[in-house]
């Protein structure tokens, strides 16, 4: 009996200890998320910026890039020592709509005043419904579907939209006579991929560009594309349009090479990142064309400064998502300064001021485009730019 009692007490102690440790951890994680606490003077007004994106999981590359880009921009803003300082809290959503909404609630508890995110489309649609109801200003760096903006006056995009990518691709291929027979392989389980493909197909039909084969695959874990490639080859396609993410695209290039099939590959913004894929043979991507608003190898002064800082801090070359995150923070900063926004204002007050600013002719020039303006719907005026991969770097055409 005494032994049992002793065990009970021991167990209770262990439980209490565990709870203490857990609480301690909680505090620690809270500390680490606020890595960019401003160092400016106490009088400066600190606006709390929330960020949401996948930092872990299958789409981690996009979220972590946006986060890194935002951190650099916040450091720069705070180093200016102006009247407005930013405090960034970036939450992970693992590219999952439900987790993204939870992350948003966390940020609300933290009293976030402006939201940058979500990075990926489906989570962003879910979060947009919440911010619309709560009246919080939301600027997404990279969720490119028009569904993100539908009927929500408080949501704005910094990236070009899916249909514009499809249309630009079709027009570019047609106008430059890259090919007469075109095939497309896309992920029909994904709104992003299907959205671009539909716009591409519609525009290609209008132009008279012959789409000889359209292959689909159900999700990004698909690894075998031999059937789609054989069919495209048999149909005589000289160019394959790939409105997909870079992971399946890398497999398609590998398998096409194994089959001795050498079409031109034409990707969209999801192709960005293929050169940083660990272990990827970059010679496979030689001559691949893609749409990207940002070129890390550009010699523009702003780009060089950003790339140098990024490489020093994170040890890798930034992609367009990092640049989008960076631009989001700077666009918000410029808008806040121009409209005398202070940290004392509530999220909904800031929201109304920023909506008026963004729809009222606010322009921003950053890494991913110059003189960007926003429409009433929240779409940015930024045209997709076609670039080609040569010797492992992007080259302007």
């Amino acid at each position: 009996m005494t032994k049992k009692k002793f065990l009970c007490i021991l167990l209770a102690l262990v439980v209490v200890c565990c709870m203490c440790v857990a609480c301690g951890n909680q505090d620690n994680t809270d500390d680490t998320t606020d890595t960019t606490t401003p160092t400016g003077t106490t009088e400066a007004s600190v606006i709390k910026i929330g960020g949401i994106g996948p930092v872990t999981g299958s789409a981690a590359v996009y979220g972590s890039s946006v986060k890194a880009g935002m951190e650099i921009a916040v450091e720069e803003v705070n180093a200016l020592g102006g009247a407005i300082q930013f405090d960034l809290n970036f939450q992970d959503d693992e590219h999952d709509a439900e987790k993204s909404v939870n992350a948003y609630h966390n940020l609300k508890d933290w009293n976030a005043q402006i939201l940058v995110g979500s990075v990926t489309t489906s989570p962003c649609i879910a979060v947009a419904a919440e911010t619309y109801a709560d009246r919080m200003f939301q600027l997404t760096p990279s969720a490119s579907s028009p569904d993100v903006l539908t009927d929500k006056d408080n949501v704005f995009q910094l990236c070009f939209s899916d249909p514009s990518q499809g249309i630009t691709s079709a027009e570019y291929i047609y106008n430059n006579e890259l090919a007469t027979k075109v095939a497309a392989i896309y992920n029909n389980g994904d709104a992003y991929s299907t959205g671009i493909y539909d716009a591409f197909k519609a525009r290609a039909d209008e132009l008279g560009l012959e789409v000889v084969y359209s292959g689909t695959f159900p999700d990004d874990t698909t690894t075998d594309f031999s059937v789609q490639l054989t069919a495209a080859k048999d149909a005589g396609a000289e160019l394959i349009f790939l409105p997909i993410y870079y992971t399946p695209a890398s497999l398609i290039m590998q398998q096409a090479k194994d089959m001795n099939y050498e079409p031109i590959f034409f990707g969209v913004d999801g192709m960005d990142g293929i050169l940083t894929l660990e272990g990827f043979d970059v010679t496979l991507a030689e001559g691949v064309m893609l749409l990207t608003p940002f070129n890390a190898w550009d010699d523009d002064e702003k780009v060089v400064s950003f790339v140098t800082k990024y490489e020093k801090k994170y040890g890798s070359t930034p992609n367009q998502f990092a640049a989008d995150g960076y631009d989001c923070v700077w666009a918000l900063y410029n808008a806040c300064v121009a409209n005398n926004i202070t940290a004392e204002m509530t999220a909904s007050e800031i929201c109304e001021i920023l909506i008026d600013a963004f729809t009222g002719g606010f322009t921003y020039s950053g890494l991913t485009g110059t003189d960007m303006t926003w429409s009433e719907t929240g779409e940015v005026s930024k045209l997709p730019v076609v670039r080609i991969i040569q010797d492992g770097v992007y080259v302007d055409l």
Partner: protein, 294 residues
């Protein structure tokens, strides 16, 4: 010509399924449990081989052996820590534990190697593909090696279970655990051995899978794992030639359905065929029908 190339893709994919299915079927045969983490052991094997070649600069064949050693140890550890204490528990408890182990392995891989996919360099990259009919038909070295390795493993395992003492012990345990113990067979050791062999096979399967389809991420093993489990059931779970037949048929059906019916419905067709087979032959294609004595 395209039919022939579909056939080759199907055979190569099917052989990978077959090797994974052999692991499932062996463990199910002796331990009478669904070893769900098998797919994740494949992923670990592939990562070990990747690290050995990309980070430590070891030759490809050494990396395969390293992967086999690590996976064998991992398999025995999983069996010892997670399944042995549950030997007399209900099958449901064992199933839930297996699911837990599977998640544990995936998340551990996520922590160790990160979520960004890595591109696996094929262990056969130094071999040239065979090109026939004026380059119309290409047979990759991966396809040939996968099929050959699959047949060799099948022959090896059949000989092992029918000729050697340990193999006979395995069959005895699979037929009746209690009786086998009474006959002086160490049941625990036999089951551990089965896990060791199954996990070593998983390492080979991982290397072959990632050589043929070179993206490697923590979830790499789960989908092929499920397909291979289907293949094992298809061929008759517990039967070694059945797993091989089931795997190859599954690969062929998947590729041919994709090519001639619909790329979107290929998985649905695969599972529809499985349902039909199970309706006609409930024990699977080569499975033995065991009548329970009441």
């Amino acid at each position: 010509m395209s039919f022939l190339s579909y056939l080759i893709s199907g055979l190569s994919l099917g052989s990978v399924y077959a090797i994974i299915a052999l692991g499932y079927t062996m463990v199910y045969g002796t331990a009478k449990m669904l070893n769900i983490p098998h797919g994740d052991v494949i992923m670990v094997g592939a990562y070990i081989s990747f690290c050995a070649t990309a980070y430590w600069g070891l030759p490809a064949w050494v990396s395969v052996i390293a992967a086999m050693v690590v996976c064998t140890v991992l398999g025995i550890t999983i069996e010892g820590l997670a399944y042995k204490p549950l030997r007399s528990a209900t099958p449901l408890a064992v199933l839930i534990t297996a699911i837990g182990v599977s998640y544990f392995l995936q998340n551990a891989a996520l922590l160790i190697w990160g979520s960004a996919p890595k591109v696996f360099t094929s262990v056969f990259s130094s071999f040239e593909a065979i090109r026939l009919f004026n380059n119309q038909l290409t047979i990759s070295p991966e396809a040939i090696v996968t099929v050959v390795v699959c047949i060799l493993i099948m022959i090896g395992l059949t000989t092992f279970t029918s000729k050697t003492k340990m193999g006979k012990a395995m069959r005895a345990v699979s037929e009746d655990k209690g009786a086998a113990q009474l006959m002086g067979i160490n049941v625990n050791r036999t089951i551990s051995l089965t896990f060791a062999i199954g996990s070593a096979l998983a390492a080979i399967a991982g290397v072959l899978l990632c050589s043929a389809y070179p993206t490697l991420q923590p979830t790499t093993g789960s989908m092929p794992g499920i397909k291979a489990f289907t293949a094992a059931v298809f061929g008759g779970i517990g039967s070694i030639p059945g797993a091989m037949l089931g795997g190859i048929l599954l690969g062929l059906i998947e590729i041919l359905a994709k090519a001639y019916i619909s790329t979107q419905l290929s998985d649905a067709i695969v599972f529809a065929v499985l349902i039909i087979v199970l309706l006609v032959k409930p024990a699977g294609l080569l499975g033995k029908k065991i009548s329970e004595k009441v």
